[in-house]
């Protein structure tokens, strides 16, 4: 047996597992989404795409995910830069601090936010005392609450992706930029930021996909009125038991994410090459 053949044989079990665990469910989902009472149909898709309610849910999902991704990048980049430039010991503590939210259960964490953001909670109370908001102000059941809760959970993905890239930037490049007339901030913009693009892209991909498909936090913080797509899928499955329609929504979410992320992936490919 040749080496090549042997190699192919050896990766076969892994490949099989991948097909079973990854492609089969997706294929099944695709099948389900086009199955109707009598044969194949696109009815579930047309139903989704012609109902303003569902289009609104889709738009909200995309919009919130984009805002969450942007905020994560805006916080994550400076945070990663600072982490890359402190002593290794301090860096370890900062990393632990950043990933701490991931170590707690999503339900517990979200209930924590509910306590903080509700009408009698800490945040609205402080804002009220400062005279910034009215008496009935609450952050619960708003899109703001969803964004706050999601940013906290997803920030580590962004920060750590960027950190991995920034620590590999030669510090002499920044020094060289300084000797060529860049202030500190200008160096960040002209040298560090462009060289961090692969990390920012990778982090954004993670944060965007995770937030577009997340369900618990938006559901608990946004309430029933502010639906996102994942929650709507959940409702179709559990309340109306309309599996094909749930599958169609899942396919739309899946395709939507892929279409949005394609140019992004190409961006990171170019800055690597």
């Amino acid at each position: 047996m040749t080496d090549r053949a042997e190699n192919s044989l050896l990766i076969l079990p892994g490949l099989l597992l991948l097909v079973l665990a990854f492609f089969v469910p997706i294929a099944q989902m695709l099948m389900l989404s086009v199955s109707g009472e009598n044969g194949l149909t696109l009815a579930h898709f047309t139903r989704f795409l012609s109902d303003p309610y569902y289009l609104n849910v889709l738009w909200r999902t995309v919009r919130l995910s984009a805002i969450i991704t942007l905020i994560c990048a805006l916080i994550g980049f400076p945070m990663a830069y600072i982490m890359a430039h402190v002593s290794p010991k301090l860096r370890l503590w900062l990393v632990i601090m950043v990933i701490l939210p991931l170590m707690t259960s999503v339900v517990v964490r979200t209930f924590g936010w509910m306590v903080l953001l509700s009408r009698s909670g800490l945040v609205p109370e402080v804002l009220r005392d400062l005279g910034l908001v009215g008496r009935n102000f609450s952050l619960m059941q708003t899109e703001t609450a969803i964004v706050i809760g999601m940013v906290q959970v997803l920030l580590p993905f962004m920060t750590l992706s960027i950190l991995g890239v920034i620590t590999r930037i030669d510090s002499r490049l920044e020094e060289a930029a300084r000797t060529m007339g860049c202030s500190f901030l200008k160096t960040l913009r002209t040298v560090v930021l462009p060289l961090s693009v692969p990390g920012i892209v990778a982090g954004s991909l993670l944060v965007f996909t995770l937030s577009a498909s997340s369900f618990v936090t938006p559901n608990l913080l946004g309430g029933a009125r502010i639906q996102v797509l994942a929650a709507s899928i959940y409702r179709s499955v559990t309340q109306t038991l309309d599996w094909p329609f749930a599958a169609a929504q899942a396919v739309i979410l899946f395709l939507g994410i892929i279409v949005l992320l394609m140019p992004y992936a190409r961006l990171s490919g170019r800055s690597n090459g």
Partner: protein, 350 residues
Amino acid sequence: MAEVRLNAIKKSFGPVEVLHGISIDIASGEFVSLLGSSGCGKTTLLRIVAGLESVTSGTVEIGGRDVTDLPPEKRDIAMMFQSYALLPHLSVAENVRFPLRMRRIGTLDEQRDKVRDALETVQLGHLADRRPNQLSGGQQQRVALARAIVSRPQILLLDEPLSNLDARLREDMQVELIEIHKRLGLTTLFVTHDQEEALSLSDRIILLNKGKIEQEGAPREIYAQPATGYASSFLGAANLVSANITEEAGGPVATLADGQTLPVGKDETRRGPAVVALRQEDVAIKPKGEGVIEGKVRTRVYLGARNRYVIQIGKEEIRVLAPHDLDFERGETVGLAIDPARLRVLSEGE
């Protein structure tokens, strides 16, 4: 243009002091070489002038202004890094344009012209659109050189700018550097390992040894009269042989460890134990019996136009350069002729 004045610069990294109080005055438009062995603090000193490294004590003045606490971008300098520090996300031309863009020098067209000129100077005009990682080491080094000279700063700091070039290119670049310096009169601080480069390029050489200035002076002066053993072994790769200097009838004489004697210059005043510095090219190999002392050939290295012999004298070995038409075998005893005027006596322990 501007002069640079370093006053009693000390620099410590943690508990280790690497610069022990260095004072240098560089006149406006002067070309000064920093010469010294690896790890003696040349790069550190350059980084202090650039403002990339803080001083532990002492002050830095540029153009009569105290810039000790000024960040690098506020000092009108350009620095070429030993590791090039080319920006990987920019093309060669964009790298060279970077200092012009950041300091807002000239219009876009003027910047393009300057970039083209600088790249022509380093013979890289044809690679303007490449990325740095698509260049060879020597090409990258020349891009870094072009980037340093393009903005015509008051102070030009070059950290071993030619170390990675082949002999031919290096000579070309040396000529270019001299021309640029003549034409623009940039105050230049030039770090090198290579004594020949320092001798041929600079107005003044500053020899550093372990964070201290060992000797400074014009190239001729420092080459002809190295003050210490370190200086003479660094400049001219001299052999250092210990000897005892005594007064004899015909003038002072150096007695080597194995008892052979060697006349030294008449005006030599030092007596007692000393070190004799002999340049490789100042010792002539003769057949046995000729010459003032004798030695045994240990090895012969073919260098093209010349041969280098390692000659054993008693327990010590010296290196000698000889024309290649002279041929001596290993183990052969040869005579060595040394002009007393060319030999320098240094006190021991220097």
